[in-house]
């Protein structure tokens, strides 16, 4: 009889490994004691590294810090180069505002990871502001408010819905592709509808209908494949009351 050096249970002499924790069964000779010690140490180290592994929150914070450094230095560099040019602020407003909005978005999604509605809302507002700014920077023809912001709103709503559905989905296989395809179809309808309203003042749908008509059969085939392979649930069991 020997005792497992790791989990402390008694092992039969003919056991090479502990059936409980999988450690090798070694006699406590001087040579082995060294080895056992080393293994224990290694295991502890393993535990330490897994313990030291960053949590999701820490990882997000790290990502935020790195992207913050990159984006802010991007803003500063473009500002300096643009100013050195001697014509005052010109092209750098684009890169600076894009970097700033990107940074705000990364901040929102890093720190409001769990508050998805809030982070989506914040992201929408800043990106909408960016579109309006871009419009103002370039001729101010009004496309930002009339076309950009509504399109952005629909895109956000659809993507938000998609994210929520994916989060709730129990199975994450082909059905996710289906949901994404349908979302893409919906976005194309919105794009065409808004363009036609913006340009002609009337709602005319043509190509986006073709997109959605193509998407639907593909989606249903994917869903069929996804659920065809599953055994039919026993209805009595499922609906027991």
């Amino acid at each position: 009889m020997t005792t497992c050096s790791n989990c402390g249970v008694q092992l039969e002499d003919n056991m090479n490994f502990c059936p409980l924790c999988g450690e090798p069964n070694l006699d406590e000779t001087t040579e082995n004691i060294e080895y056992i010690k080393l293994r224990k140490q290694k295991q502890e180290e393993k535990m330490m590294t897994s313990f030291q592994k960053l949590s999701g929150k820490q990882k997000r914070k790290l990502f935020w810090e790195i992207s913050g450094i990159l984006l802010i230095s991007g803003i500063l560099i473009s500002l300096v180069i643009d100013l050195l040019d001697g014509h005052g602020l010109s092209w750098s407003v684009y890169s600076m505002s894009i970097c700033a909005v990107l940074f705000v978005n990364i901040t929102l999604f890093s720190f409001l990871y769990r508050k998805i509605i809030l982070s989506f809302a914040g992201s929408f507002i800043t990106t909408a502001a960016l579109l309006v700014l871009l419009d103002i920077f370039k001729n101010n023809i009004g496309w930002g408010v009339k076309f950009g912001v509504p399109l952005l709103l629909f895109a956000y709503l659809i993507v938000f819905g998609l994210v929520m559905i994916i989060r709730k989905a129990k199975e994450k296989e082909l059905n996710l592709i289906t949901y994404s395809l349908i979302a893409a179809g919906l976005i194309s309808i919105c794009v065409e509808a808004l363009i036609s309203i913006y340009q002609d003042g009337t709602l005319n749908l043509y190509w986006s209908l073709i997109v959605i008509i193509c998407v639907l059969p593909v989606s249903s085939i994917l869903l069929y494949i996804q659920y065809r392979l599953k055994k039919g649930t026993d209805l009595k069991r499922f609906f027991h009351i």
Binding site: M1, T3, C4, N6, C7, G8, V9, Q10, L11, E12, M15, C18, P19, L20, C21, D234, R237, F238, F239, H240, I241
Partner: protein
């Protein structure tokens, strides 16, 4: 009756609905409130792993109703057979962790001299888990070639599995036409900040059963009554020590939830949940209670509340609501919300602490000689109750196991202080320095 039991063993996909007590749990379980309790036996020698693994594999066929996983139906959750072997793990992680989806609802763990079982309350209660441990220990004794008397009663592999073991006994003893129970006012809850997740920490202490029995006998009450009274007394001390303004804010009823094994009241051999609880308590609005006064009221309250008729009333309340067609026909995802709300108002809001006693454990001599003591840890308490206590006695040892989710150990310390003042020694199983 026998037919279904055999069918359950043979067919791959048997299933049954959750029993009345289990129905609430899937809706309220989360990472910290896991509804998983732990029953451990500490042997005198390290576990002989080969013999133990053999005992586990022999026990498997006797407990088919434990080989189940939790599934979602449209109206209710249900338990469905899952063809997995009973897993034996090395016990080195946090206790009473939640069970993963699509897996068994219990685990067997070993570390050195300690064998621990962790069961989800969805599956069974302390008595059901203990029956399983009894079989494991009996088979382990046999595997070690020690003597196990033939007349020792345990669930033996190879014998017919009774249909009764599968049943929801609440339903059997449910009587209609019984009036609903009156809702109790909100109870006092311990102050204290929660630990960061995972909150749960257990402190196991060993007391001399002889000494505790002598203390209880002096007051002519049972050990259970005595410990409930100590719990109430200690909570009263904590309440009285609060600053005036906080005292004003807190509710003034102190109640302890004491689970009662209904198998002792109604004849049932079920291996699923079949327990209810009584809630002895004191009303602090009436002034300070001396320990003797608490003992007196607890003694009478427990006897009054375990009256068969009153228990019937409780069963009827619980089962009755489950039987109503308009409740039955609410889809599960809506039911979840309702159950979560109901759980707080009917459950933890009403009591200040939990004290669950598995009682005195006895085994044949050869098995007893293997064992040092048992530990029974209740499920991690919820955010309101914060601390819970499990008790089990074996030979000369009474083991108190406190599960705590707060940063403070005041309740436990006062509990131990109470016994120290009466000349008892407290031994800590897991060497908590600040309290030894």
């Amino acid at each position: 009756m026998e037919k279904k039991a055999h069918k359950a063993v043979r067919t791959d996909k048997f299933w049954f609905g959750l029993d009345n007590a289990a129905k609430i749990f899937p809706a309220v379980i989360n990472k910290d409130f896991t509804a998983v309790f732990r029953l451990s036996v500490v042997l005198k020698q390290p576990v002989r792993i080969k013999a133990f693994l053999k005992a586990v594999s022999l026990s498997e066929e006797r407990f088919p109703y434990f080989k189940v996983q939790l599934k979602k139906g449209f109206f209710w959750y249900y338990l469905e057979h899952i063809p997995l072997h009973f897993p034996v793990e090395f016990d080195h992680k946090n206790p009473c962790r939640r069970f993963a989806h699509n897996g068994l609802l219990f685990r067997i763990m070993v570390s050195g001299k300690k064998i621990s079982l962790e069961f989800s309350h969805i599956l069974t209660d302390g008595t059901g888990a203990f029956e399983f441990l009894k079989t494991l220990l009996a088979l382990y004794t046999k595997e070690l070639a020690l003597e196990l008397p033939r007349d020792f009663e345990y669930l033996k592999p190879g014998e017919a599995i009774r249909e009764e073991e599968y049943e929801d006994s609440y339903k059997r003893y449910f009587r209609e036409d019984i009036p609903p129970i009156i809702k109790r006012p909100k109870a006092f809850h311990l102050p204290g900040q929660l630990k960061s997740s995972p909150h749960f920490e257990m402190i196991n202490t060993i007391l001399s059963l002889k000494d505790v029995r002598a203390l209880a006998a002096k007051k002519k009450v049972s050990i259970n009554d005595y410990l409930v009274s100590v719990y109430l007394y200690v909570l009263q001390e904590i309440y009285e020590k609060l600053k005036h303004i906080r005292k004003y804010k807190k509710c003034k009823y102190i109640r302890i939830q004491v689970p009662v094994n209904l198998r002792n009241i109604f004849p049932s051999k079920t291996m699923r949940n079949f327990s209810l609880f009584v809630m002895p308590g004191i009303d602090l609005r009436l002034g300070h209670y001396s320990f003797d006064e608490i003992l007196k009221t607890v003694y009478h309250q427990i006897r009054l509340e375990t009256d068969e008729k009153l228990i019937n009333k409780n069963i009827s309340r619980n089962v009755g609501s489950e039987k109503k067609i308009y409740i039955k026909s609410i889809p599960l995802f809506i039911k979840g919300f309702i159950l979560r709300m109901k759980y707080l108002s009917l459950g933890p809001k009403q009591y200040s602490g939990v004290l669950t006693n598995l009682g005195m454990i006895k085994f044949p001599p050869d098995t007893e000689n293997l064992i040092d003591h048992f530990v029974f840890t209740p499920p991690p308490p919820n955010k309101m109750t914060k601390v819970a206590c499990g008790i089990v006695s074996f030979k000369e040892k009474l083991v108190l196991s406190f599960g705590n989710i707060t940063k403070s150990n005041e309740l436990e310390e006062r509990f131990f202080q109470f016994f120290r003042e009466r000349g008892l020694e407290i031994h800590f199983e897991n060497n908590k320095k600040h309290m030894s």
